[in-house]
């Protein structure tokens, strides 16, 4: 990124610069209670550019677009409920939220990791192009809507609990994994219309789904060995983030199985208006 295109001026030397000089990997805590999101992001950017490796944001309450302008490998820990579009367009950092997240988390994210120690809202990973999102519990509607991939860049979303409706809607690429860890034995995922309009990527679901209410554009397969290797890696990462047992989450639930959902065609609506 050129100097010219930088959204904010470089930080001025001060106590922060002195701290960084003393210990470049220092962790900084920032209380952002009531601070508008532009200012929070400006400060995050200053800190990241100064070489700080870990930033703790306290008092976060609904500020939007957090981390959107970060391009350094910085780690941001959020204490509170971040606002919509957390990590939108984010390119590299690792954000951890120690609460629930709102809608639009990881919108068009390019690279990096978002870890939610709780649940997330609607359109998680909307148009995501790369990086990984891990959600410990549940997610809302239209998660992974229009995710896409190119070459080696494949976005990944792993959900520990379950998802509401229209999971993977219009999905064009990437990997969506739903572990169903909080379902009772025999309980179905409440998700209707999974993969509606899906034309790329793959969805793995552990546990039963209502097959009569799946999207019309997808087919159901049994995961093969190569799929299970991929899942083993991703579930391992999930388990490491949330300190749970990967083997339990990888084994099919009692009386059920893993399923793999794939689009049947790359152009589901190609013939819709061709009479």
């Amino acid at each position: 990124m050129s100097e010219k295109a930088r959204p904010w001026p470089r930080p001025t030397p001060g106590p922060l610069a002195a701290l960084v000089e003393k210990s470049p990997s220092a962790c900084v805590t920032l209380d952002v209670q009531g601070m508008p999101y532009r200012e929070v992001n400006h400060r995050l950017w200053e800190l990241a550019e100064s070489g700080i490796e870990t930033i703790v944001l306290r008092g976060v309450n609904g500020q939007r677009y957090l981390g959107t302008n970060l391009r350094k490998r910085v780690r941001v820990l959020i204490d509170g409920v971040p606002g919509n579009d957390l990590g939108a367009f984010m390119d590299g950092p690792r954000i951890e939220v120690f609460n629930n997240a709102q809608d639009g988390c990881g919108n068009t994210m390019n690279n990096g990791t978002i870890i939610i120690h709780g649940s997330a809202g609607d359109i998680l990973g909307h148009s995501m192009r790369g990086g990984k999102i891990f959600v410990r519990d549940n997610v809302g509607y239209r998660v992974g809507i229009h995710m896409k991939e190119y070459g080696d860049t494949r976005p990944v979303i792993v959900i520990g609990g379950t998802a509401q409706h229209f999971l993977g809607e219009y999905m064009a690429g990437g990997i969506l994994v739903v572990l169903g860890a909080n379902l009772e034995p025999g309980e179905m995922h409440p998700s209707h219309y999974v993969g509606t309009g899906m034309h790329g990527g793959v969805i793995y679901i552990r546990g039963p789904v209502k097959r009569s209410l799946l999207g019309k554009e997808i087919g159901i397969r049994h995961p093969e060995e190569v799929d299970m290797t991929l899942l083993s890696n991703l579930v391992g990462e999930y388990a490491a983030h949330f300190h749970t047992d990967a083997d339990d989450l990888l084994a099919p639930p009692v009386g059920s199985e893993w399923i793999k959902l794939l689009p049947l065609t790359k152009r589901p609506y190609g013939r819709l208006y061709a009479y």
């Binding site: 106590p15 900084v28 939007r64 809202g121 509607y141 409706h165 009569s212």
Partner: protein
């Protein structure tokens, strides 16, 4: 020509907007100050653009609990004199006064706001019952009188609204001086037409109040259906349609709110097809009877009346709604952060499915859905970093 008609100067079929909502009910009836509502609403700053904000409060006028309270806005004092005349000819006015307000920087051209405590006289009602008479008269004033608009007409409740940011409107009406057991609030982001004072939310009729985010693509068919039942839609807003539809099916047809939710946002046909036969019959009957009141398109609403608050989103959730419980208080909000801000010790939070109503009633302990686990305060221990509270190097950076 009526004020509401003039304000819709582009002759649009309806008015679009996208907004922020917040509401809560203390089911024990304990009164809470307006500052809670203001704090939550102002936290969702990005959801409004300063072209409308408002507050509805219940349990507001215990000293006049048996009288209807009309909150009216008038263009000027001449319009108010005219309205005053009209009201005294058609009602017994018990008490009237200006709604306390103060000048606020940035609020321009505020109308004259007044409140009347009144009751209908049987000699005027011409066969109508009391509530139908109120509806009839409010419709008549809003569609026929020039420069006058009744924006609240219930008992022991009131709506305060206007053009401005939530904090400006709160200051204008001195909202923090009121207490209520149920508050609903709204910040507006009108997208196609200018905002005007009467067009802000909450929209009210009798003790109904509606705050709304989204746009209803079934507006035309809903409006025509309501007109057949005597409701005149003067405002061209979705909110008005929802208020009248609520009045029709929940007050006049006596449907419980759970059933009304199935009318407004019933399941899709292929979801119905997979349900038990008895439930299918019920849902088909609802669609056959009230098909014209199905609300299509993206919306979230908070509908309230005395003793009851209903949060409802459209059936495929194209607008956000989240709920929370702390003790006897049920919260609903466009954004979760607003709930956490006013209640840091919230016990349960969840996101209802589209079409799933969240209902709070006076005297009924609010209960979270069976699957929802209590909100646990996170320990905030990060591997390799210790607890967030024990970080070694903190700098006072601000």
């Amino acid at each position: 020509m009526a004020w509401a008609t003039q304000e819709n100067r582009y002759g649009d079929d309806k008015v679009y907007d996208a907004c922020g909502l917040f509401g809560f009910i203390d089911t024990t009836g304990t009164l809470h100050g307006g500052d809670i509502a203001i704090t939550a609403l102002t936290n969702m700053k990005e959801r409004g653009n300063g072209l409308g904000a408002g507050y509805a409060a219940y349990g507001l006028y215990p000293e006049f609990a048996d009288h209807y309270c009309f909150h009216v806005m008038c263009r000027d004092s001449a319009s108010r004199t005219e309205l005053d005349d009209y009201l005294r000819r058609h009602f017994a006015v018990v008490h009237d006064e200006p709604i306390p307000s103060r000048a606020v920087k940035g609020i321009l051209d505020a109308p004259v706001v007044w409140r009347y405590f009144l009751f209908p006289q049987s000699s005027h009602m011409a066969g109508r019952d009391e509530e139908d008479y109120i509806v009839h008269e409010v419709m008549r004033i809003n569609s026929a009188l020039e420069g006058a608009f009744v924006f609240s007409s219930g008992k022991n409740m009131g709506i305060f609204k206007g053009v401005g940011h939530p904090e400006q409107i709160a200051e204008f009406y001195r909202i923090h001086e009121y207490t209520a057991y149920l508050w609903t609030t709204h910040t507006r982001f009108p997208t196609n037409t200018p905002g005007w004072w009467g067009g802000a939310h909450p929209f009210g009729l009798l003790d109904w109040s509606v705050v709304h985010n989204g746009e209803i693509s079934s507006y035309g068919i809903n409006r025509r259906y309501l007109e057949m039942h005597g409701y005149l839609c003067t405002m061209q807003t979705d909110t008005e349609v929802i208020a009248y539809a609520s009045d029709l099916i929940m007050r006049r047809h006596k449907l419980p709110p759970e059933m009304a939710a199935l009318v407004f946002a019933g399941p899709l046909w292929d979801e119905i097809a997979g349900m038990p036969e008895k439930k299918q019959r019920l849902l088909r009957a609802i669609r056959q009877t009230y098909g014209s009141l199905l609300l299509n398109g993206p919306f979230t609403v908070i509908i309230a009346r005395s003793g009851e608050m209903i949060g409802l989103g459209d059936r495929i959730r194209l607008r956000p709604l989240t709920a929370g419980i702390k003790g006897n208080i049920l919260y609903v909000s466009s954004e979760l952060a607003a709930i956490h801000l006013v209640e840091p010790d919230i016990e349960y939070t969840w996101t209802p499915l589209g079409g799933e109503a969240v209902i709070g009633r006076l005297g009924e302990q609010p209960v979270a859905p069976a699957k929802i686990r209590p909100t646990i305060k996170q320990s905030l221990v990060v591997p390799g970093l210790g607890a967030l509270g024990e970080l070694a190097e903190e700098v006072d950076y601000v």
